[in-house]
Symmetry: C2
Subunit: 532 residues, 2 copies
């Protein structure tokens, strides 16, 4: 038996960088499978462009161009008309994992972590050995440069930086990537961009595919969506450690003013209420001295008080009209019902909003089964569940998503659906939040947290009730149609019989009867308002 | 419209530590849901103990004790008889995410990343504000200390370090954790430890549950499992970037000797074969000067040559006998079939081995449906698919696992199973590798990579063929039983009729007939060898 002492085992002890970690585990960033890897790259750049345009108040114009270089190797160019990136930060923005403007803010954006773009730079490096190329201008300075990542240190390697006065705005990123594949499937870039355009109607997106075709998703709304406000956390859902963290970082002199300054909906009046539940706590003390025990008591007290719900204006939703349009566009159904719920609070004091729609008929409920392309197994997509988070379509990892879980757990029979998997029914759900708890770094599924699953279920049940009325209406109409047809079959015979009995003209009687019957069944002859 | 320039947007630009990232996204480490969070903590400490004992050649003795402090708050103590941790490294080992002895080695271990223990320290801090307490001895030094983590910097905070000569070996970790819950469900600690003991029969595990009960899983094998060898990567599956990385770090003077020294199965003879396919490459050149283009050619050439399969001795499997024992213990089935496949190579040149078993009858195929405990939704476990990776049971995230995918994609009808979800059939799969590509940091599912799914399918199909013979045997036996019973019904009447015709004694004829019939159906009276 080979023996090893602690000393010899721990000779191997080393520290590693986050970039080394994600290089080894690139599947966790969404780089697994060639088709998915390509969609991941486009997703990362496009969401960054949308976020930047939204923050700068610019109606986004985004172009994505994909050119095949050799087998499974492509040149990808994504350009936008956004505010640009200052040259002194572009290196870190593009090639330092966990660096960015988003991680620490209470602001709803598509990106959250500062991982995506640096992940692309790394994927370009490990599959082609090449840097990415960036052209950008903030209006004040235009430049272009090459950027790669030093995986060992998680630091950018910039080269060939040159001023370019002719570039006046926006950002263009060009990269070559290997081990990817363009494909027009439900998991491909086309479908991703189409759904992105539908959930972001203020955006114009152009796709040039490897075979040279141009697809343009035209802007349908010429106004910027309501800008989500940067918010304070809501006291409900704040944990003890969060509270300690805020308190010890605070510049307030007193605990009471710290609470009012730091959290949403906390007023001096509410502090007075809190004092009732936290009698032993000195609200005059410096928040820097707040102890764990005191923080625990405060967190408990938060839950004893009635709070105004979180501000809706922290959230930027797709909107019910647009969800209806998106559903009609994707599924061409005979019936749609849409609902937007009130904001709820998730743990950490973070509000979120669920929007949902149900479609019936048309292409709703169509199965998109597992596709086998070349040597590559493409994951099964849940064709009947369209999933979005912060207006970004999620095309992968359906089975581990809170939206799938909620949709599957509903008792669809109550809503006139005997078998959700077999009938022509689809749901679309968008969850908007300052912080969406994704189940993985690749952001393709929302973690199955209880509050979120429950809220999605309630939204779908809301829509379900409307659907139930529609379906029973359809059934009713079918029954009436059948009765109408049965009666009409007797009209000829009955008219001539009545003519003999009464001595009236058979044709007159017939017209009279038809008019009575048609009046009785007049609903069958008016255009049905399917899209109630 | 609120406008923001690039300069004002990028004022918020910051870098964040990996610990800040995982604090915000603790669900990615397995901290989602109270029951799962507790299992995650025990899983992290126990796998570290098993790895340390295995490396030191010590038969593991592990104790896990869980004491309730208050609602959803517990004291957890995990102690082992392992080699101990040197005091100068214990801080980083317990409180620096991505630090450890495992990340960079080609050695099969349960831990891979150096995240688990530091994640526990962080979870203790954010749910209770407390440090963990460690007692350890390497034999040369005994000590105890408190350790917490500075989340902002990902550095340990050590305090109260004291020498303890009375501690002579092993490691004890004590921590208090909030937002967790002990529960005896399929997702709980008891089930986790039971399955761990079954897949690690050389281990003795004791669990003391919060109600004071002791459960002991006794060691059933008194020998250490074959120690997995630290290996070199296999040339198949090596990517261009991997090759460049190895080459530029190499101390070899020549490309040819670099290849022989760095990779498994590369001999001078194989280098000569390689030269045939890579004619333009100078094999005398310094590997430090290897270009991307040359590396690409080499990687392609690797695929043109026949290679000896990777060394099996890099892998430590559960073993077919023990898989059978585990399956019998968990499911008490009437039939088991087990197979261990040959090693295969996954991308990055990493070999892996799949072991699988199928159980039929008994508790096999029992449904463990979604359980709702308090306010908490426990995820549905796939009761009919027992999943292991490197001998560690995986209890969560079944739906996103390659093992589930493989099991569900098999045409079970071929193997006598009409409906896998409804019939009394279960599968158990263990995948062993130097690097298992988990789908998430919490290591509860194996990513659905093609090579792995395919290999698991082949293993299950192997077992399936034996199952098919058993099931058709069972059906055959049932038919025979029914014929036997039918014939026996006529024996009395036939005997007396024949007695009348022949004048022989009815009883004699009856005995004769029964003996003929029983001889014909003798298989029905011998003990069936169910566990073929």
């Amino acid at each position: 038996m080979q023996q090893a002492s602690a000393e010899s085992i721990f000779k191997e002890f080393k520290e590693h960088s986050i970039s080394e970690f994600f290089r080894k585990n690139s599947q966790m960033l969404g780089y697994s499978g060639k088709v998915r890897s390509l969609t991941t790259i486009v997703h990362e750049y496009v969401t960054n462009s949308l976020d930047a345009c939204e923050e700068a108040g610019i109606l986004p114009e985004i172009s994505v161009s994909i050119t095949e270089i050799s087998e499974n190797k492509y040149l990808i160019t994504v350009s936008d008309n956004g505010p640009g990136i200052p040259s002194k930060l572009v290196g870190k923005a593009m090639a330092t994992i966990l660096a960015g403007t988003k991680f620490h803010r209470y602001l709803q954006q598509r990106g959250q972590q500062g991982i995506g773009a640096a992940g692309c730079t790394m994927y370009s490096l490990i599959t082609t050995g090449k840097p990415i190329h960036v052209k950008s201008s903030t209006g004040k300075e235009g430049y272009e440069c090459d950027i790669s990542i030093d995986i060992k240190t998680n630091k950018p390697i910039m080269s060939n930086l040159e001023k370019r006065t002719e570039i006046s705005s926006g950002t263009v990123i060009e990269g070559t990537f290997g081990d990817i594949k363009y494909e027009e499937s439900d998991h491909g870039v086309y479908e991703y961009l189409k759904r992105t355009a539908l959930s972001n109607p203020h955006t114009s997106i152009k796709l040039t595919s490897p075979d040279g075709k141009d697809y343009v998703f035209i802007r349908s709304v010429n106004e910027m969506p309501k800008r989500p406000k940067e918010i304070k956390p809501h006291p409900l859902g704040i944990g003890t450690n969060d509270l300690i963290d805020f308190a010890h970082k605070s510049e307030s002199k007193k605990l009471s003013s710290f609470l009012v300054d730091t959290f949403s909906r906390v007023t001096p009046g509410k502090v007075t209420e809190l004092k009732e539940f936290a009698k032993n706590i000195d609200f005059e003390k410096n928040p820097a001295d707040l102890t764990w025990e005191e923080a625990e008591i405060l967190v408990k007290s938060f839950k004893e008080i009635k709070w105004v719900a979180p501000e809706m204006d922290a959230m930027s939703t797709i909107g019910d009209k647009q969800i209806e349009t998106a559903i009609k566009n994707i599924l061409n159904p005979t019936f749609v019902s849409v609902v937007e719920r009130k904001p709820r609070v998730f743990k950490g004091g973070i509000p979120f909003v669920v929007e949902a729609g149900i479609a019936y008929g048309g292409d709703a409920g169509k199965k998109t089964s597992a596709i086998k392309v070349d040597d590559e197994k493409v994951q099964n997509v849940e064709g009947s569940i369209l999933r979005f988070a912060n207006k970004v379509p999620m095309l992968f990892d359906a089975s581990s998503c809170a939206i799938t879980e909620a949709a599957k757990s509903i008792q669809w029979k109550r809503y006139g659906i005997t078998n959700f998997d077999e009938e022509p029914v689809s749901v679309m759900v968008n969850i908007s939040s300052v912080y969406v708890p994704y189940s993985g770094v690749g952001k393709q599924a929302v973690a199955q947290e209880d509050e979120i699953v429950e809220e999605i279920k309630l939204a779908l049940m809301d829509c379900g009730r409307t659907l139930q009325r529609y379906i029973s209406g359809v059934k009713n109409k079918k029954e009436q149609e059948s009765r109408y047809k049965t009666i009409m079959r007797y009209v000829d015979q009955l008219s001539s019989d009545l003519a003999e009995i009464t001595g009236n003209e058979s044709e007159d009687i017939k017209h009279g009867l038809i008019s009575i019957i048609e009046n009785r069944y007049k609903e069958l002859f008016t255009e049905q308002t399917d899209l109630a």
